[in-house]
Symmetry: C4
Subunit: 123 residues, 4 copies
């Protein structure tokens, strides 16, 4: 049995899905979750905006001893995706400890730009 | 009622507003604040320089259950903006816990470059 | 005698070896380990995937008072490298405290993109 | 009197001074130190390598209520700079608490790439 490691509650204040892609790569963001335990992790994402109410409790599963690099543009709440081209923020909760990193590839220009942060853990 | 999460005091040592933009995007920095609580957060920014006294107590409000991606070039202290093209640092204090991330898009060249860090929390 | 500093257990959820390089630089990732102590550090990496079992216990040595910027494409487990072009995650354990940072240079396009994070420590 | 904030001991495992610059910007790294206190901070940097002994105790001063974005290529130890084009790591100690962030601009290609991390604090 492998033990769960990390935290159950994480925040990423700077979310943004670029509107445009050009060149060889597609603009995207990933919420990268690592579950190093022998149990499945049930992860919930809440999306906060600047000017409207949050989208709450989008559920994603991370199998035991696996990582899941969740594309934010694949997330749906009642059939609706996260809108592109507007600032937002992400809250991640999990039923067991996991580790969460956030990365963005911006391919608005033909040449891509990358950024990445470890999410902020609540202990 | 949603509880406030994060910390009340954060630091970002590497601030810089690029002087030039070219291509499709405009150079800018964002101080991204997430207030996941049911109460409004009153946030204060102090700007430190290498060669002059700080600009103190620029106030920004973050509504309940909202994020605010604050553009540093929009901040004014007694009508004066943060000067561009010089190194500075940022202190963020809030009356309730929030989470703070800092990102910079540098579009000095036609192709953009991105960087991002979680601000450093004082607990 | 110099004391060991940092932690013995770190995580990097967002690993990815780009498939393509163009221009003057080669796409690569580095797991940068600093051992500031007077003793050798024995470091073990475990690689997690989205759809298959982990590659466990790849061993790397970091000499006393040295850094080792480990190229992930140089790591071998039973003669097999980490596959390129697929998402993965990294666990780092060490027999003495070290500090771990992860950086990626993506040269898929002729113009390079950089990202870097401090790994997430388990204390 | 303003209180010192942050930590007295920080690490940055991934240091690298690019050999080449092209386009409008010059490749460089900055160790960005913020001293928000009313006292001067005396900061010491030790540089670790992969294949030789460290350069120890390069001293830099950060005045009260100021930031100092230290260019690594300006640092000298017995008249010698940090060599370019090789991997290294940085240890930062300070006599009073400060906050430390590390950023790199790589302008090897005409279009620049940026990365930044908060240094790792020892508490």
């Amino acid at each position: 049995m492998y033990e769960a490691r990390g935290e159950k509650h994480w925040f990423i204040p700077d979310g943004y899905i670029p509107e445009i892609s050009s060149g060889a790569l597609v603009s995207h963001e990933s919420v990268c979750v690592l579950n190093c335990s022998s149990e499945e992790a049930s992860v919930r994402l809440t999306i906060y905006f600047e000017d409207r109410d949050p989208l709450e409790d989008i559920v994603v599963v991370v199998p035991p001893r696996r990582t899941n690099h969740i594309r934010t543009n694949s997330l749906l709440k009642n059939g609706e995706p996260i809108p592109v081209g507007i600032p937002y923020a992400i809250e991640v909760t999990s039923d067991i400890p996991v580790v969460v990193q956030y990365s963005r590839l911006d391919a608005t220009q033909a040449e891509n730009a990358l950024m990445s942060v470890m999410a902020y853990p609540i202990k």
